[in-house]
Point group: C2
Chain length 284, copies 2
């Protein structure tokens, strides 16, 4: 495994791979790898000849009051996990390498960026789209692997790829959960022991929704209310949003006809966590 720090070096590596007729899988992360990230790497290894992992903590997707500075970083640990998993290249530029001093070009998926997480993180998806597009151009991947935990990000990146005519496959990978149900996230490390316990209410509330759906409930408001009541029963949990939306347009739905996404953002203490459940198939 090779660590690459500069754009020209990364571009040269990608060019050589493509010239040899081989495929590149890109796993874009912000590092502090967990089993969710590992599942993306495994899928890329399965689908592509070469796997490039990025662990760049992208400043443009954090708001001024958000956790850019305290976001967990541990390159040595990430590097060992990546090597273990057979990653071929880690692209790990510093911020000055990635963004020119007077960087001023941004990519944005309008409307989709203003709802759900975008309502509370107004410039977040603009930062995400911009860095992802830059990585596309530097790494020239055939396929890019994203976790379904970031459901809105996935919908936005898919839209961007379609709208801007990128010839790249976006591969959604299932949410990976801790044994007790908590969706894996680098931000889980912010939780105290008590908060970690309280955070279980998130996946439990989605599990309840799933049970109701399989019992035949199709009214979005009824299911939304059920989740709200469950979350509210936990004193350490505070609802940021609970959305029941079409999974590709992200428009709210009244009746649950697949594919429907139920996505939530919940504060556990000061830590904001997201989770979701996708009803992909029509159930009878």
């Amino acid at each position: 495994m090779k660590v690459i720090k500069t754009k020209p070096e990364m571009q040269a590596v990608s060019e050589k791979i493509k010239k040899d007729g081989k495929s590149i899988g890109l796993v874009p992360t912000m590092g502090y790898l967990h089993d969710g990230h590992v599942s993306l790497i495994k899928r890329s290894k399965k689908d592509c000849d070469y796997t490039v992992l990025t662990v760049f903590v992208n400043p443009t997707q954090f708001g001024p009051d958000e956790d850019f500075n305290k976001y967990p970083r541990d390159f040595n640990r990430d590097s060992k996990i990546a090597e273990n998993e057979g990653v071929d290249y880690i692209f790990n530029p510093d911020t000055g390498e990635m963004y020119s001093e007077n960087h001023s070009t941004y990519v944005n998926v309008e409307k989709l960026d203003k709802i759900m997480c975008g309502k509370f993180r107004p410039l977040h998806f603009k930062g995400v789209c911009t860095i992802v597009l830059k990585l596309f151009n530097i790494i020239n991947p055939d396929a890019v692997f994203f976790g379904e935990k970031d459901a809105q990000q996935l919908a936005i990146i898919k839209r961007m790829v379609r709208d801007l005519d990128f010839d790249i496959e976006i591969v959604p990978c299932p949410i990976v959960r801790e044994p007790d149900g908590l969706a894996m996230s680098s931000r889980n490390m912010y939780l105290s022991a008590q908060e970690r316990q309280a955070a279980l209410v998130i996946s439990k509330s989605l599990e309840l929704a799933k049970q109701m759906f399989f019992c035949g409930e199709r009214n979005a408001e009824v299911i939304r209310k059920l989740i709200t009541d469950k979350i509210t029963s936990e004193p350490l949990a505070h609802i940021n949003y609970i959305s029941v939306v079409d999974s590709s347009t992200l428009k709210p739905v009244n009746e649950i006809v697949a594919p429907v996404l139920i996505a939530v953002a919940i504060y556990i203490g000061k830590t904001r966590l997201i989770d979701n459940i996708l009803f992909n198939e029509v159930s009878k």
Copy 2:
């Protein structure tokens, strides 16, 4: 020469050329070709193995009160000129092929898009960047040829290519003028005979500025005043803006130290024309 109407067909052609190890030159225009466009084609033919011309009139770069509907179009004429010049492919999709119905992704070079022409055409450069990026992804060019007449567009596209890490050379080509000095533009066809005569004041005012510069004048305000007086002497001409700016940052300068761009937008009757002069070398 082959005319291509769909994105998949264009992508397949580009892919084949690249696989054969050949280079692609892209000449993006909105058609109604004049000798300015022809100079771009000639340069592309000189620099690249294959030349792709686009003549797509891009709706997203026109404001609601602008001339999208009456913008001149004549595909048969363009097609003959292109064939004569040895263009290999004309990419001529219709609007529905180019933009999905719920297209929502846009690319924007912030700040540079709000000054000069951007002040009067607030969404123009966002539309330009978006279509140009789409053409980059569909055609995969090695080099793209732009006229220096659209000086702000050129600065913005160069910035976009740098900021988003496109591995594409942007080649600026000199302004082509009518024998009497008027910069060639598809919009010149809007001018009446009388307006056509009046429009000469634009290039003449820039010529005067050039003379003063070569005589040693370095004060931007003095040169700006000279151009203003000259334009104002023509009753059919109305100043939209006269800017003396750094040619890459587009920031106004007080003293003219090369590279400096003097860019103007002037209404002749109802027709808005742009022109500019670039002081690229340090003169003594």
